[in-house]
């Protein structure tokens, strides 16, 4: 009886081993992507929600996958939109600066070759501020002494955005439809402006309807962050081929629990 039980257990183990090895043989080997040595920062983006007077503490980790030790100095910048463009303002230069409240657990960071180092950043939102984004930067300070060569040093930053009020609004502009050619797909594009006080990351979709109102295809807009006052073009390629006729394109964007829709008509001849 004991011998039978032993043999049964051995059979189960053997079957398990065979299944495992067969699965291992069937499973495709992970693709070995050639990645050049680099430095990387994690997280890249932090989206914070709360209200004025609140604070956040976050750990930022810099990884050095190169063969050389690197030195960084921690700095914070307020990130705003001025004349339609993003501007990085040193801490304290703006009234009610959020970057000015940044406290780093260490000011100078050494990251050994093939190693990583972490720094905590603590930010406190002032009781009143229009700033909604801060970049916390690991500023590279190693400058290569070189002769007949120009040294290049990299710095990386984490973008930290703040949603402090429910005041969100997007303003769409006219949809433009670039009809397909022999070498390019149809392209649907529109500019959208953030006219309120909070940052948003709209997720959009373009739906193409025929003259009978039937859905004939759709395309997703790559999502982009819009800081307050920022205006960006959202564009999507429509890969399907359309028969000649009249069509309507309906663009819909979801953001912060709201939906923005806009449409236009076009004709394929």
């Amino acid at each position: 009886m004991r011998e039978m039980l032993k043999q049964a257990i051995l059979k189960i183990l053997a079957a398990g081993w065979m299944l495992t090895s067969a699965a291992a043989q069937l499973a495709p080997a992970p693709a070995q992507e050639v990645v050049p040595p680099s430095i990387s920062l994690s997280p890249a983006v932090i989206m914070a929600r709360g209200s004025f007077g609140q604070a956040l503490t976050q750990t930022l980790t810099m990884s050095n996958q190169t063969g050389a030790e690197m030195t960084f100095v921690m700095e914070a910048f307020d990130e705003i939109v001025k004349d339609g463009k993003r501007v990085f303002v040193p801490a304290g230069e703006l009234p009610h600066s959020v970057a000015a409240t940044a406290v780093f657990s260490q000011k100078k960071v050494f990251v050994k070759a093939h190693s990583s180092a972490s720094v905590d950043v603590h930010l406190t939102i002032p009781q009143e501020t229009s700033v909604r984004a801060v970049s916390a930067m690991f500023r590279g300070t190693d400058v290569l002494p070189s002769r007949n060569a120009v040294g290049m040093t990299a710095s990386l930053a984490t973008l930290i955005t703040f949603n402090l009020t429910p005041n969100v609004a997007l303003q769409p502009e006219t949809i433009r439809v670039a009809l397909p050619t022999e070498t390019s797909n149809m392209n649907i594009a529109l500019w959208i402006g953030n006219t309120a006080t909070e940052p948003v990351v709209p997720e959009g979709l373009a739906a193409v309807l025929d003259s009978a109102g039937k859905l004939v295809g759709k395309a997703a807009f790559p999502s982009q962050r819009l800081l307050p006052g920022e205006r960006l073009e959202f564009a999507a390629d429509f890969p399907d081929t359309l028969k000649p006729g009249d069509y309507k394109v309906l663009c819909s964007f979801q953001y912060e629990g709201k939906t923005l829709t806009t449409d236009t008509i076009f004709t394929i001849k």
Binding site: Q54, A55, L56, N64, A68, R86, A113, T153
Partner: protein, 200 residues
Amino acid sequence: MEWFTAIGTIGGRCVIRLCFVLPVLVLGSSLTIDGWTQKKGTTGHTSRPALKMQTQATGSVSVAFVNLPDGALLAPGGAGQRALDLGQVAYGAVSRTPNVQIRTLKDRMIVTTRFGLELRNTGAGGTFATATVLASLAFPDSARTVRIEGVKMGLAPQIVQPRARLGATSACRFEIEVPVSLTEKDAQMRNSILFQVVPN
């Protein structure tokens, strides 16, 4: 002696003396007050706002300087620290460095080449597909004019690529303008470009 006795008997009845009751009342009161105060502070009582913000952290951004087939060779030194080999940069000099173009004008010469900036989102998730690239000079250089992507470099960082795509190699055009007055001896450029990458 009787003062220290907490419990006594008077006329056959059990009596708790004041000297015992008072400290117990004081201690109890203080514990109650402190306990509630602590509770309010630590468990997020609804009448007070939370001090910490809710956060959602995503992605990981990486940068590497890479050689381009039609660009000057990047000297080794780690991908976050490289050197762009331009050869001797002086008026009248002829470029002997591959993929470095020299254009000689009446009063100056312009040295041009390209290099690659590879940006990636190496982490999980992420609400960004592009990054802003800024650049500046490490040291002041009054003799030469350095441009990256046509933007004149100074000590203050300037945006050279407002929307550099992640997951791709961006070609950066590098240009140095050298005046006629610069002798070959002074032509050796000992400076560095400091690049900053901020996810959008």
